[in-house]
Symmetry: C2
Subunit: 503 residues, 2 copies
Amino acid sequence: VVKGRAEEPVYIWISDQEVEIRPAAHLWGLDTHETAAAIQDETDPQAQVACIGPAGERLSLMASVMIGGTDSRAAGRGGMGAVMGSKNLKAVAVRGTSKPEYFDRQGLLRSVRQANAIIRDNSLAMTQFGTSGGIITTEQVGDMAIQNWRLGSWKEGAPKITGERMAETILTGNYHCHACPIGCGREIEITEGPLAGLQGSGPEYETIIGFGPMCLNDDLESIAAMNDLCNRYGLDTISTSGTVAFAMEAWEKGLLDSEDTGGLDLSWGNTKSMIQLIEMIGRREGLGAALADGTRAAAERLDANSIEFAVQVKGLELPYHDPRAFTSMALGYATANRGGDHLETMTYWHEYGKEWPDMGYVDPPDKLSSEGKGKMVADFQNFMQVFNGLGLCKFIAKAGVGPQLLAEWTNLALGWDWKVEDVLSTGERTFNLKRLINARWGISRKDDTLPPRMLSHPRPSGSAQGNLPHLGKMLHEYYEARGWSEDGLPTPEKLEELGLSDL
Amino acid sequence: VVKGRAEEPVYIWISDQEVEIRPAAHLWGLDTHETAAAIQDETDPQAQVACIGPAGERLSLMASVMIGGTDSRAAGRGGMGAVMGSKNLKAVAVRGTSKPEYFDRQGLLRSVRQANAIIRDNSLAMTQFGTSGGIITTEQVGDMAIQNWRLGSWKEGAPKITGERMAETILTGNYHCHACPIGCGREIEITEGPLAGLQGSGPEYETIIGFGPMCLNDDLESIAAMNDLCNRYGLDTISTSGTVAFAMEAWEKGLLDSEDTGGLDLSWGNTKSMIQLIEMIGRREGLGAALADGTRAAAERLDANSIEFAVQVKGLELPYHDPRAFTSMALGYATANRGGDHLETMTYWHEYGKEWPDMGYVDPPDKLSSEGKGKMVADFQNFMQVFNGLGLCKFIAKAGVGPQLLAEWTNLALGWDWKVEDVLSTGERTFNLKRLINARWGISRKDDTLPPRMLSHPRPSGSAQGNLPHLGKMLHEYYEARGWSEDGLPTPEKLEELGLSDL
C-alpha cells in the first residue's frame, strides 16, 4: 500500500526483496510506452512496469494504470491512474527471480494443464479473432451500443469492425499473457493510408464498440489509432469512448459549438475530430478539461440536462453490453461496487446460453425478462469476487473455469480444504465488505440505479427492441437474496452471519 | 399578478373594481383564522380572505394559502404560502357585488341543476361521511400509506379513523362550498378529554391518512387537533404529515435523538410529540427549522442517506394514494408538473372502476399492471388541466362531470363551440406549457422519477403486496403518447401542432 504523496515525481523499483523510491521528474510527461522502456533501461530489461501516462499525471478520473509497456495491458476502470498521479507516483516496476511455493506443485501443474487444454479447445475463436470475434452476434442479439446507446441495430457497420475483419487487414499476430493458452491479445500494423506506421497492440472488444458504433464510426484503422492514443495517454478506453460519444451527442444537440471544441467538428463518425479530442482529454486541454473526468462530471460542467445522456452509474461509464438486451446486466451495473462495471457480474454469459453447473446455473433464463435475476446476479457477483481477486482473466471463466476449479487450485496451492461453497461464501464476504466501504461514502439504494436512457429509452430496433429492465423489481429480489435492507445496506444479521459484525 | 416585494407587511383589499394595498404589520404573526377575522373586521364581514399564517411568513416550502377563515379551505400544495410570505403579503381580501354575465344564463343554470342532481345522487356517502368515508376500502385495496409507506396493511387501525367513526363521535355538521350539492366539509367539536374545546373544520381524507396511519396513529381526535394546527399555521397537511412521518422514521433509525428534537420522543404514534412538532415546524423553531421545507430539504440537512425515506417527487411529498396499488399514479406522480401531486391525474378512480365514457375510458384496466398506462395518464392529465383551471372541485368529476359537460358549460357561459376534443386539446396545450416552464428550470426525464421506496420496496402485505410499478416502461409509453422526446421534452413538432412553436 502506497501512502501519502511524494514531493517530486517518483517511481518505485522493487527487485526481489529490495524496494527503492527513485526520482521520476525526467519521466513526467512521457507516454506509457516511453515510460516503461525508460524504466526498463534504468533497472532491468525484464522488469514489469505499471505506470501512468499524461492523463494520470493530470488526475483524469478516466486515467488507467498501464502494464507491460507496448503490450498495453490496463488496470483501466475507475481512475486508478489518477490515484497514482495524486501521489506523484509515475510507475511501479517489479522484477522477481524467486518462484512461489505451493502446497502441491505437481498436482497444481497437472490440474492447470488439464484445464488449459479445455480452455484452449473452448477458445479457438478467441485465439483466432480476439475479443472482438463475436461482434456480428453482438449486433444481432441487440447488445451493441450504438450512437451513445440510442440506436437499436447497425447491420451495415458491424461487419467492418469485427475481429475477422481485423484478421483480414491489420492483424500481424497475437499476444499471450504469461502462460495463457488463449492469446486473445492482438498485434497490428497499419501500412497504408494516413495512419500508416501505426504498430503495436490492437483494440479489444470494448474499445472497438466504444470508438466504433458508439460514435457511428465504422473505420477500424481509426479505432486502432484511438486505442493506441488511449494506451499511451493512460486512458480507460471504455470511459474515454463513452465520453467522446457523450460529447458528440452534446454537439448534435447544440450544447457544444465549434468555439467550445476549439474548431473540432464533432459530428458522428468524424474520426479526425475524435482523435484530436482524445489528445485534448489526455492533456486536459481545451474541451478536454471539461471531459477528462468522464460524462457525469462533464454533464455538471456543460449543462444540467446533459446528464440525460451521460450513460454512467455512480460516475463510471457503462461498458458495452446493453442492459436492455441482457436484463441481468441492468442489476449488475446498478449494484457493482465500482459503478457501471460488468466485471463484478458477467451474468450475460449465462443469459447468452453458457451453463455454470458448479453453481447450479444450468438452465439459462430469458435474457429479456426481469424475473428471477436477483439471486443470479448476487451469486455470480460472489463468484467473480474470488475469481477477480485471484488475478485470473475472465476469458478462462468463459471457457470453463468455475468455482469448483478455483477451490481445487486454492487447495493445491495452499493446502486448504475449500469447496465450492467456500469460494462463494468468501466472495459474498468480499462483496459485503466492499459495500460497507461504499456505505461509509454515503452509497445506498438511492445510488443503485441506471441512467434514464437505460430505464425508459428502449432500443428502437433490433433483437432487444422495446425491452426495458424492471430495475426496481430486480433490486428488491437482489436485496432479498443478499439479505440486505430495502435501502441496500447489509443488515446486522447478515454481517453476523459473515463474521463481519465488528464492522 | 403580484410582482415585487413590499417593504413592510401588507394585505391587498379588492372591493369590486377598487384595489388597495394596506399595511399588515399588526396582522403579522397571527394565525389564519385570526387574520381572516381581523381583515373582515377592517373591510367587510362578507369579504373572502386568502391569507398566510406564521408558516408562510417564515417561508416554509410547505406553507399553504388558507381561504375562508375558519372554513379552512386551502391552496395547499407546493408552498404558495411561501411565495406570499416572500412578498411580505399577508393576505388578499376580496368582496364583489356584481354578477358575472353569461352567454346563456338560463341554459347554464338548467344544465348545472341537472348535473347537480346527478352529483348529489352519486355523492350520498361523501355528503354523509366526507372525504374519509372510504377509508376501510382504502386499507383493503392496498392504497393506504402506513408508517411512512413501509407497511402493507393496518386492519386494526383503519376502523378507528374513518369518516363513519368521525360521524359517530366528533362530527357536528357538514360544510358546503358555495352552491355545492355535496357538502363534504366536516364540522367538528371535541367536548371531552385533553383536547376538549377544539371546534371548527374537521380533517379531510389526506390529512387523516397523513397524521394517522402514516405515523401509526389511530387517535382521530388527535388528528383533528393536528389538522387545526396546520390550518392555523397555514401548513399543507400532506407535506407536513409526510415530513412528520419522515422525522419519526429518522428517530427510529437513530438519525435524530432527543437532543435534536428538543426532548420530544418521536416514536410512532406519539400524538403529543406530533402536535409539538407541528408547532415547531409552523414557527421554524428547533427541529422545525430543519423540517419546515419538507422531506427533501430535511434529508439534505440531516443525513445524505435519509433521502432514502423522503417520499417526495421533485421536492413535493406524495399524497396518500399508493403508486404500488394504483400503478398509473406512479406515472402521474413522476410527471405531474408540481411534483408529487395527484390532482393533475386522478386516474386511480378509473383503476378503481369508475368509467369515463366521454373520454373513451369504459373498461377499467388492471390497477396493478404497468401495461398501457402511458396514454391513459396523459389523457386524464389533459382533462384535469381544464377541470382544475376552471376552478372546479374534483369530487364533482368523480360524481360524473367529464369533458362533455365542461364543453357544454363553457359554451353556455361564453358562447363558444367547444367539443370534448377542444377540452382535451386545450388541456394538452396547458400541460405542455407548464412542462416548458419546468424545462426552463432544468426539469427533464431525469426528474420524472419516484423515490426509491416506491420503485423497489414493495408493500409487504395487503392487496397490493409485492407489486412495483415498472416506471421506465410507463414513462416510455407516456412520452410517446405525449409526442415528447425520450428525454421528456416537448418536440418542435408537438409544439407546432399545439400552436406553441414560438416558445
